[in-house]
């Protein structure tokens, strides 16, 4: 019989290729018996080797928000997309604008979103985003009616191939109405509190 122990690298490759979801190092360790669990450092080293072995291949080992996954490179899309008759789902501008507001301004209420967009947000959009598990209710604002506060999820980041909110494209800066005051330091992107980002609307 073959008594050579199976290399950690091979085991990780097997579980990563078989899984449809990204796997965190903790989940990877969990497939080993309690007394044989590899350390995080060992896992990290093996993942690095696996990533290098993808050079020149159609797949890459990628790190996204909820863990590691193999994914078929974007350059392969022209051929791979042909496999399925169904076209990938398209999302409306209304949905993407709502999602962008939730991503950049979280936690945010539906009312806040409507204020920026100037139109009401349909329940279908919120429901679609919740069903895709891209957004979730993270709390409720302590005002009358206790409106739900929405935030994005790891699944949102995974879907858009991001490993954290910091990887989102930078939010455009606002040109000041009173362009005489250029010293305003606007947050480029990730501030969750609206107050910090808003351009002043009157002369101070």
């Amino acid at each position: 019989m073959n008594n050579t122990p199976t290399p950690l690298k091979n085991i990780l490759e097997a579980i990563l290729l078989a899984s449809r979801e990204p796997l965190s190092p903790k989940q990877m360790a969990a497939v080993f018996p309690d007394d044989e669990q590899p350390t995080t450092a060992d896992i990290g080293k093996a993942l690095e080797e696996l990533a290098q072995e993808c050079a020149g291949r159609a797949v890459k080992l990628n790190r996204v928000a909820s863990g590691w996954r193999y994914q078929v490179r974007e350059s392969m899309a022209p051929w791979v997309a042909k496999l399925w008759q169904e076209r990938p789902q398209r999302y409306s501008r209304a949905l993407l604008e709502t999602l962008a507001l939730i991503a950049y301004r979280q936690p945010i209420t539906r009312g806040d979103i409507e204020e920026v967009r100037g139109v009401s947000v349909s329940s279908n959009i919120i429901r679609t985003l919740q069903e895709r598990e891209w957004i979730r209710v993270v709390g409720h604002r302590d005002v009358p009616g206790k409106p739900a506060l929405f935030g994005t999820t790891k699944a949102f980041l995974d879907y858009f191939d991001l490993s954290s909110l910091d990887d989102l494209p930078t939010l455009a800066e606002i040109a000041d109405l009173e362009s005489i005051e250029p010293e305003l330091a606007l947050e480029p992107a990730m501030d969750a509190r609206p107050s910090a980002e808003q351009a002043p609307t009157s002369t101070g």
């Binding site: 100037g118 455009a172 002369t203």
Partner: protein, 299 residues
Amino acid sequence: MESASNTNTSQDEGPTTDDRQSPDLVLPQDRQHDGRQAEMPFAVVQGQPFTQLPRDLYIPPDALEVFLEAFEGPLDLLLYLIRRQNLDILEIPIAEITKQYMTYVEMLRELQFDLAAEYLVMAAILAEIKSRMLLPRQPSDDEDEGDPRAELVRRLQEYERFKQAAADLGELPRESRDYFLTEVHFEHTQVVRVSPEVDLNDMLSALRDVLSRAELFSHHIIQREQLSVRERMSHIIDRLRDTPWIEFPELFSAEEGRSGVVVAFLALMELTREQLVDLVQHEPLGQIYIKRPGSKLPI
């Protein structure tokens, strides 16, 4: 002072924004066929681009619908009007823009188009700003009120940021569009894949939610419907997969008794109503056949 000139703009405006837009986004520009950015049409209806606000009131009603759908709301429409003329948001010629905006809104109202309330609210805001702009301004007023356009400018800028952010988001790589997940076959020999348990009540409460959302409860027909009828409908359709037609009596069996006959009959009626089957009878008192829609009887 307020300009009375026509809102007509020149034909050869250059590109007005450098928006990077995902092919996914349904923006007015996307409707252009040849991909040129010369002037953004409002909409393309049956191949005809609408590049200007129509001057007379007649545009085909289906054009209006596309026109309205091209915008995400009054802020989006205003941004379009401003950008289309290469104007700086910070220097909106409020009278001009208001005039254009009103033309559009009036046109829609004239045709009794179902216009979202937000468009009318914006019309009121614009009118208010315009009137404030017309008032003589004392230097000291600036301290209190500032530019009457300030709030609108802030909103437009803020909306534009997120409009851009949405376009950027649309360009990020997406699963099953740009990149693809791998799923390598694994032979589940000893492993039993554990399926989640479902409580019947959970399913019923899910049904209650979806039906109240769709307001289907108000529908008395559905309320009275026997579920065994639905079940039987599925069975009849299923039988018609293997054979192009069934003779009427084949649907009924003596063992089912009276209630079974009623269920089969109701199922047949409902299938006919929903046009899932056709009933055919060639001559009075002749045999009745149940067949798939579109299929032919052998006789």
